[in-house]
Symmetry: C2
Amino acid sequence: MARTRAFDHDAVLDAAIEQFWSSSYRGSSTEDLCATANLSRSSLYNTFGSKRALYLEALLNYIAGKRRARGELLDRDLTGRELTYAVGAAVLDEQWTDPGRRACLALAACIEVGQQDPEITTVLETNAADFDAVLALAIRRGQQDGTIRTDLPAEATARAVHAAFDGLQVRSRVATDRASVEAGLDAVIALL
Amino acid sequence: MARTRAFDHDAVLDAAIEQFWSSSYRGSSTEDLCATANLSRSSLYNTFGSKRALYLEALLNYIAGKRRARGELLDRDLTGRELTYAVGAAVLDEQWTDPGRRACLALAACIEVGQQDPEITTVLETNAADFDAVLALAIRRGQQDGTIRTDLPAEATARAVHAAFDGLQVRSRVATDRASVEAGLDAVIALL
DNA sequence: CACATTCTGTACCGATCAGTTCAGAACCGA
DNA sequence: TCGGTTCTGAACTGATCGGTACAGAATGTG
C-alpha cells in the first residue's frame, strides 16, 4: 500500500494531554505539541485537523482515563464516608505529587474554554455530572452503612462536595503548604 | 511644567480589569487593552511598564474592590448562617448576571498564573486567606447566635466553604441551568 | 511668546502564532 | 524491482504578539 505511520495515535494524544495540561490550551503552541509528541506539523494536521480538534480529542481521552480511575475507586471495599474521602484525597494527592502542581485538566478547561466553545463546554458539563454521580453514589452508600448523615439529599450534597474538591484544587495552585489544603478536605468530610 | 495626561490612571485600571476578566491574561493583547482603555500603547508602557505589571496592578485593584464589598456584607445585620449564605449567593449572582458568566478574576488567575509567577501567586494566596477569614468570622458568628453547628472548627470549615464557593463558580462556567448550581450552594449551607 | 518638559500617535522591531504547501522519503503489493 | 500511495521534513504564509523608537503635539512657567 503505502508508507507506514511513524507515530502512535494514542501516544500523541498522551503527549498532547501532557502539553495542554502543563501549559493550557492557549499556552501550548502547535510547535510545542509537535516537540512533545515527536511528530511533524504536517503529520499533526493530517491526523487531527487543527489544534482545537487535537485539544478536544486529548481532553476526551483525559476524561475517559479519569472516569476509569473513579470506577476503580468505587470497586474498593470502603465505607461511603471513606470512599468520599478517598475521591478527594486522590485528587489532591495527584496535584501535590505533580511538580507543577497542576490542577485537573478538565477543571482548567472549564475556566479557560468553558462558555466559549459550546462543544467542549458540553463535554466538560457531562464530565462534571459524571463526577457528581460518583460522589452521590458514595454518599448514598455512606447513608446506608451509617457513616454519613441521612438528613442530606445525596445529589445536591454530591454537587457541593464536588465543588469543594474543585475549589481545593484551585487553592492548591496558590497555597504554600499542603497541610492547610488537606485540612480543608478533612473539614469537608467532617461536615458529612 | 509639561503636557497633561489625557487619561485617568484608575479608569485605565478598571478597563484593564474588564479586559483581563473577559479574556484572561494570555488572551488579552496589549492592543486589546489599549482599545478597551482608550489610550495609546506608548502611554500604556510609559505608565505601567509592561503587560504583566498592568495585570498585577489591575488584579490588586480588583482584589481591593472585592475586599471592600465583603467588608460591607459583614456590616449587614445578618445571622452567621445568613451571612455565610449571602457571601456565596453574592458570588454566584454576580457570575450569572454577567453575560459572559465570568468567574472571579482572582480565581481565574489562580489557574492561569498561579504557581507560575511567584509575586502574583503570593497576592492570590493572601486574597484567598482574606476570604477565608471573612467566612471564618461568619461561621463563628453563626456558632454564637445558634444558627451554625458548634462542633466545627471555624477556620478549617471556612476553608472548605470557600473551596465550595470557588468550585461552584467553576461549575457555573459549564453548567446549563442556574438552579442546579444554586442547589449546590443550598447544599453547602445545609451542611453547616 | 518661547522654552523645557511630558505625553501620545504611528511606524516599526524581531519573535511567534496557527495553518499550508510540496518535494521527496518510505512503504506495500505486484 | 517497480509503481502507486501515504507519510513527513522543512520552508513558507499572513497575522499577531509584546515591546521600542521617535517625531511632534500639548502643556505650565518664565
